[in-house]
Every structure is written in structure tokens, then in C-alpha cells.
């Protein structure tokens, strides 16, 4: 069958089961949009800036488990998309991103809207393709979907020259993919799993440290089974939130720089630390030589290069979290037959007692005020009102950390945040993609005034495409996290952290055809949130909060997790920061 390259692209998407494409047209991809004009079974969502297409695809992918797809034109569109690609790469989100390219005979000619797309995205993607020959088009797209969704998931970029899209080619969609150079390991090594089981059964102070890999491999049920069997407490990374219900008594909540005191203490004092689908990011470990110094470390990850990258691992297991955990539970049953739990019962009891003490003495806390809204309170109320069941997206900054600390995520794939790259502006476009993939569900974007303004133009997309995203702006009139660091580490020399010229967000929302609500007093928070959830269509809730509030606890960058700051720092801490060799 002979089809134009443009039609082949869309036929391939159909074969891959894609139902939504986030995109923005332009010269080089117009042949695809021409076919799209009367193409059935594919919803196209027109964004207002290309990075938003990428982020929307990320949100769609994270919450549905399918591969997100975006389509933009050449040159500036492709370079705009790069941030979203790098974001997806760092958070292991499977995407297939299509960009247009100038016709093959013009490549390298400094043509209009030309950029070296594959050259630019090479380090921002898991893999990329420049399709120079239309006969490879279908095979390359098949490979792109295969690579994006298997192994450690990630973004794959396909660059499409205009002449390849215009010309006709024989279309045959390959049924299978064979890449001799790409064979991810799924099954963990049985010997290593047995070793891990031996260590876990004998552990006196074990902790599970779980990350986004649990979400990517849908391993929450297996993780639940492991916890049910072993009763080991679980701490989750920012990307892992939802892997384990945060309301569970065994949950230690998030660890790391702004994690809970009890999570960091438990990890620090653990004798066996089981890392599952997590990568020992510097925001998790703090100073690496002081991270879990007494622990034998077991690391389960599908990416061999994650193992022993930052922290030396004692028992590495390369494999898919879901399958390895299932095998690990079997091995533990086996091990428990020969080494009864009574051997460590007393020590484990003491350990749980110690953790309970930390939880009781150092919970997450903030000071209440009747005058000014505390940001933590807003998040708590969102959590209460939605019962932890909403799909939550965040921007990047203080509000993101408060959301991670105070929203009690119940389920996997219900939490989207930019973890690795920390992309401000991620919130609104991602929430759009989440809503497109989950019609009828409540999607709440907890955003900051700084972060929101980086992509606020997408309110137009929300309005036009009838995506009823609810954005709660934790408005502290500036870049709160920057302000916090300037306060704590840079001796209150505030510079470029206030956003005096922000718009009136209520009127901004109304200008885009959305509903705007403002809250300035603590007593208005709950009624306003209720109203927001009850209002059909996109809503922006502008909550004016205490601009002096800081995120605590906090491990200053370069510090050890055990040296957490629990409250606004004393002069002493500031001096220590100033003397720090690592520059914090």
C-alpha cells in the first residue's frame, strides 16, 4: 500500500493505540496536519507553546501508563520542546515526540526554521531518529515506541523532514521490533535476589526506599505484598509518591532535602536499606559519605548505570521492579522457613519504637495564623477535601515541596511533578495532559505564582479544549524557594526573588474564559476550595499566603541528611552555612 509519509505517521500512531496528540502546527509538519484534517480516531490538542505539548504528553503518560505523544514543527518549535524532553528523560517518562524538519535537500543549509534537531535533542532523549528515507518511517516509529516504553522508560524523538512527509512510500507496519543492541534486563538474578532476601530477613533496622520505578513498572501491589510480609517501613522519593499509600502507618513519607525528619533518621540509622526503582539523587542523599553509613544497601533498578553511580551498593539487582519484587517475596517466604523472624523480633520491635518516637516528636509542622494563610494549610485542606483521591500536579518551588509533604497521595499514577529537572512552569500544561487522559476525574494543579506564570498561556488551551483543570496558586508574591535560600544561606540579601509585577490572577483567568477565585484569609480557604472543585471548567484559585514561610525540615545543599534544619535557622546555622566548603 502506498501512502504519503504524513499519512504513514498517523496510521502508525493509530496502530500504537494513540488516542491523543498534543501539538502545534508549523510549516514543516503541515503535511501531517493536512491529513489530520479528516483523520478519524485521533484527538489533537492544540497547545499555545511547544514545551506545553511535551509536558502535557508527560502528564498523560504518567497518569494513564500509556506513551504520551506530541507533534511540533521544525526549528524554534523543536528547541522549545527540548525542556520537556529533558524533563521526561530525568523522570523516566515514556514519550514519543515528533518534530518537523526542513526537506532533506535543505538540511544543513541554514534553511528557514532549520535547527539541528537530532543534534540538539541527542542528550535530552533516550534515543532519537532522523528519518531520511521514507521506507524506514514506519519501522523507525515502531522502534521509537518500543524504546520509549521498555527498559527504563524515556522520551524518544523522531525528526521528520518535510519531503519525507509529502512523498509516497510503501506502508507496512512491522509487527515486531528487533534491536540487537537493545535488550533490557527484566528478570533479576536469582542468586542476588536470594542474597537480598537473606539480608532482609536478618535485618534489625531495615528501611525500604522506593522511587518512581515502582510507578513506571506498576509494582505497587508487589511492594504492598513485600511490606505486608516483612512489616518494613517505607519512605518514598518525590517521584515515588503514591507508590505506597501515605496514610499507611508504615509510611515514613518523603525523604531527602525536604523530606520528613523521621524518614531521614530512619534511613541514616538503618542497617539494611532496600532501594527500589530509585536512583540516589543528590536531593535524596545529601552528602553522600554521610548517607546511610551503617546500612548494607540493596538496590533494585532496571537501569544498570543507576547502580553504584552515587552510592556504592552491596547487593545490586538489575531488573524490572515488578518482577524482581514478586520473586523477592517468594524468596523471603523461603528464607523465613529456615530463619524464623523470631531471631530479630526484639530488635525490630525496638526499631519500630524508635521510629514511632521520631514520628511523634518531630512530625511535619507549621505555625498556625488567624491573620495570614499558611501555604501548608492550603495543601492539607486540598488533601482532606479530595480524600487523597485527586490527580495532583505541581509546579516547581516551595509549593511543590509543601504539596509533597502535606498531600496524602493514596494511589500510584496520581502524582505528577518535575523531580529531576525541576522545571518551573511544568504544572499547568502537565495538568492539561492529565485531564485529557483522565476525563471526568478531578485534576488539581498546585502551583506557585512564579511557576504558574511560566506557562499561564495554557489557560487558553484548557478553555478551548474543555479541560477543567483546577489550578491553586500558592501566591507568595515571589520565587519563594529562591527567597528561602537567600534568607537562610545568603544572609537575607534578597535579589530578584520578588515578583512585584504579577498580574491579577483572577482577572487573568477570566480573560482566558476561566473562573477566577481569590483567597486572602485563612477562613476562606475551605469554602473557596469547595467552590473550586464544584465549579465546572477550568478554575484558577489565587491564594495569598504568608510570603515569609519557609519549607522545613531542610537539609542545606551539600549537607548531611542527619543535620536537618527543623525550624527557621539560628545565626549559628547561618554561620555554619557561610563556612561550608561546598557552598551549600
Amino acid at each position: 500500500m502506498k501512502l504519503s509519509g504524513a499519512r504513514i505517521v498517523l496510521e502508525c500512531l493509530k496502530r500504537e493505540g494513540v488516542d491523543v496528540v498534543f501539538g502545534l502546527p508549523g510549516g514543516a509538519v503541515l503535511p501531517i496536519y493536512d491529513v489530520l484534517h479528516d483523520f478519524k480516531g485521533l484527538r489533537h490538542i492544540l497547545v499555545r507553546q511547544e514545551a506545553a505539548a511535551g509536558h502535557a504528553a508527560e502528564g498523560y503518560s504518567r497518569t494513564t501508563g500509556k506513551i504520551g505523544v506530541c507533534l511540533v514543527t521544525s526549528g524554534p518549535a523543536a528547541t522549545n520542546l527540548v525542556t520537556a524532553l529533558q524533563d521526561a528523560l530525568m523522570d523516566s517518562i515514556p514519550l514519543v515526540a515528533f518534530t518537523g524538519q526542513v526537506p532533506t535537500h535543505l538540511i544543513g543549509n541554514d534553511a528557514f526554521q532549520e535547527a539541528d534537531n537530532v543534534g540538539i535533542t541527542r542528550s535530552a532523549t533516550k534515543h532519537n531518529f532522523l528519518v531520511k528515507d521514507g521506507n524506514d518511517l514506519a519501522a523507525n516509529i515502531k522502534e521509537a515506541f518500543h524504546i520509549a516504553g521498555t527498559g527504563r522508560p524515556g522520551p524518544v524523538h523522531v525528526d521528520l523532514p518535510k519531503d519525507v512527509l509529502v512523498k509516497e512510500w510503501t506502508y507496512e507496519y512491522p509487527e515486531t521490533v528487533h534491536l540487537r543492541s537493545y535488550n533490557p534486563t527484566y528478570e533479576g538474578h536469582p542468586g542476588q535476589i536470594k542474597k537480598a532476601a537473606r539480608a532482609i530477613v536478618r535485618a534489625k533496622r531495615p528501611v525500604l526506599y522506593v522511587g518512581g520505578g515502582i510507578i513506571s513498572s506498576n509494582a505497587s501491589p508487589e511492594l504492598g505484598a513485600l511490606v505486608a510480609l516483612t512489616q518494613i517501613p517505607v519512605t518514598q522519593t518525590l517521584m515515588g509518591l503514591g507508590a505506597f499509600p501515605m496514610a499507611d502507618p508504615l509510611s515514613l513519607d518523603m525523604l531527602g532535602m525536604h523530606g520528613t525528619y523521621y524518614a531521614n533518621m530512619a534511613v541514616h540509622h538503618s542497617d539494611v536499606l532496600v532501594a527500589i526503582g530509585a536512583r540516589f539523587d543528590d536531593r535524596v542523599t545529601g552528602r553522600v559519605d554521610a548517607f546511610a553509613p551503617h546500612a548494607e544497601i540493596i538496590h533494585i533498578d532496571i537501569d544498570p548505570s543507576s547502580i553504584s553511580k552515587n552510592i556504592k551498593v552491596d547487593i545490586p539487582i538489575v531488573g524490572d521492579c515488578k518482577r524482581v519484587l514478586a520473586k523477592l517475596v517468594e524468596a523471603l517466604h523461603e528464607e523465613l522457613r529456615t530463619y524464623p523472624a523470631s531471631g530479630v523480633r526484639e530488635a525490630r520491635k525496638q526499631w519500630m519504637g524508635q521510629i514511632a518516637e521520631w514520628k511523634r516528636d518531630f512530625p511535619l509542622r507549621y505555625e498556625w495564623s488567624d491573620e495570614v494563610v499558611k501555604p501548608q494549610h492550603v495543601v492539607q485542606e486540598i488533601s482532606n477535601l479530595t480524600n487523597g483521591e485527586a490527580l495532583i500536579v505541581t509546579g516547581v518551588g516551595q509549593h511543590q515541596m509543601w504539596a509533597a509533604q502535606y498531600y496524602r497521595v493514596k494511589h500510584p499514577r496520581a502524582w505528577c511533578t518535575s523531580g529531576g529537572l525541576g522545571t518551573m512552569g511544568y504544572g499547568l500544561p502537565t495538568a492539561m495532559g492529565v485531564q485529557a487522559g483522565n476525563p471526568g476525574k478531578v485534576v488539581i494543579n498546585i502551583d506557585g505564582d512564579g511557576s504558574f506564570q511560566m506557562n499561564s498561556q495554557e489557560l487558553a488551551t484548557c478553555f478551548e479544549e474543555k479541560l477543567p483543570v483546577k489550578s491553586v496558586i500558592i501566591n507568595n508574591g515571589g520565587h519563594g524557594m529562591v527567597r528561602q535560600w537567600q534568607r537562610i544561606i545568603y544572609k537575607e540579601r534578597y535579589c530578584a526573588s520578588d515578583l512585584g509585577g504579577s498580574p491579577d490572577f483572577v482577572r487573568l483567568a477570566e480573560a482566558y474564559g476561566c473562573t477566577g477565585i481569590r483567597v486572602t484569609r485563612p477562613s476562606e480557604v475551605v469554602p473557596a476550595l469547595e467552590k473550586m472543585i464544584a465549579t465546572p471548567g477550568p478554575v484558577v484559585l489565587d491564594v495569598w499566603v504568608d510570603k515569609h514561610e519557609c519549607v522545613f525540615p531542610m537539609v542545606p545543599a551539600g549537607g548531611a541528611n542527619i543535620d536537618m534544619i527543623l525550624a527557621p535557622p539560628s545565626v549559628d546555622v547561618r554561620d555554619k552555612a557561610a563556612r561550608s566548603q561546598t557552598g551549600f
Binding site: S123, S181, I307
Partner: protein, 196 residues
């Protein structure tokens, strides 16, 4: 091997023979802050596969990451640290030296000692071709330096493992199977034009 001890490693990388692969490998090194001391690329027996020989300086920790990161590239088929096994390394040098009448014989004698070939002659210069290990190349450069080196070019290292080297063969030999029982190389499915 001591973890803190940094040394040179020669790494053989088999890659898909496609455009852009070299920049993926080179980009990986620059993005992760590793240094490549030399790099050479060429086709193998199988024209769809290229072989790169990389020389990298680093301790065991860095090397482990380099190898894992190389593996992670989709177009990389196989990575071998040749420094971990018995292997042969060679580099080629083309060098043009001033050859005034008074020293012409002396230059040729130096060349002879190093089994160099004269590949171009003019009234005032010799161009020599030399192959050998890095130390040998360094040595001849030092010996020729006093005559006045006009220009030189080194290929970078290429390396190959010693011995009959497919895993299949090794295993068979352990089992005491006679050599004749081994399949001829091209039919061995594990051999895609390179020493495994």
C-alpha cells in the same frame, strides 16, 4: 584493582554502523565529564557494525560508569574493557622530518630500528610511517625531534584481544573438544565480524 587508582583503559565498542553514532559516543563523554584520550573508528567484517577503540583515563568507579553509560546508548552493541584481558595495541604514526644531506643516513637508521617505512621523500624531507605501541611511537618521536619535525599525525590506538576468542570456543576448549569441531568463524552466529 584499587578504586582510587586511575589508569588508562582501552575500550572496544561495537556499534551500529549508522550516522550519528560517533556523536552519541563523543557526546556521552563530554556530557558526563569523562575524557577521551584517543578514539578510532572503522568498519568490521560485518558492514553494519563499526568498531570504536577508545582510550579513557579513570579509576575503577569512573570506568564502571563509562562502560554502563556506553551500554545504555541504544546503538551500542557491545562494550569490552580490553585492559582487563590479554590484548594487542597498536598505533600508527606518519611523520615528516627535516632531512638535510648530513643527517639523511642517520634518520634512516633510526627508522630501521623502529621498522619504519619511508613513504615520501623530497630533497629536504623524509616522511616515515611507523606502527607500534604507544611507547614505541613516543620513543621514535623523541629520537626524530632533534632533526626538526615538520608535521606529524597519530591515528589513535586500535586494539584486539589475543587468542581464539569466542565464548563458545573457550567453553568448548574447556570441555576438551577438538578444534576441528568448532564451526568456521563466519558461520558462528555469535561472530558478527569481530572478536567476541
Amino acid at each position: 584493582m584499587q578504586e582510587t587508582e586511575a589508569r588508562k583503559h582501552t575500550i572496544a565498542v561495537l556499534v551500529e554502523n549508522k550516522f550519528g553514532v560517533l556523536s552519541r559516543v563523543a557526546g556521552l563523554f563530554s556530557a558526563r565529564g569523562y575524557n577521551i584520550e584517543s578514539l578510532s573508528v572503522g568498519e568490521t567484517l560485518d558492514p553494519t557494525v563499526s568498531r570504536m577503540t577508545l582510550v579513557v583515563h579513570g579509576d575503577a568507579f569512573v570506568l564502571e560508569q563509562v562502560i554502563k553509560q556506553l551500554h545504555k546508548l541504544i546503538d551500542v552493541i557491545k562494550v569490552t574493557d580490553l585492559s582487563e584481558e590479554d590484548h594487542v595495541e597498536r598505533e600508527m604514526l606518519l611523520i615528516r622530518v627535516n632531512a638535510e644531506p648530513a643527517v639523511r643516513a642517520e634518520i634512516l637508521r633510526v627508522g630501521d630500528i623502529f621498522r619504519a617505512k619511508v613513504v615520501d621523500v623530497t630533497a629536504t624531507t623524509y616522511t616515515l610511517e611507523v606502527t607500534g605501541e604507544e611507547t614505541k611511537i613516543d620513543a621514535i618521536i623523541e629520537l626524530l625531534r632533534p632533526f626538526g619535525i615538520q608535521e606529524l599525525v597519530r591515528t589513535g590506538k586500535v586494539a584486539i584481544a589475543r587468542g581464539p576468542k569466542t565464548r563458545l570456543r573457550k567453553a568448548d576448549q574447556k570441555l576438551g573438544k577438538p578444534k576441528s569441531a568448532l564451526p568456521p568463524l563466519p558461520q558462528d552466529p555469535r561472530v558478527v565480524g569481530f572478536a567476541d
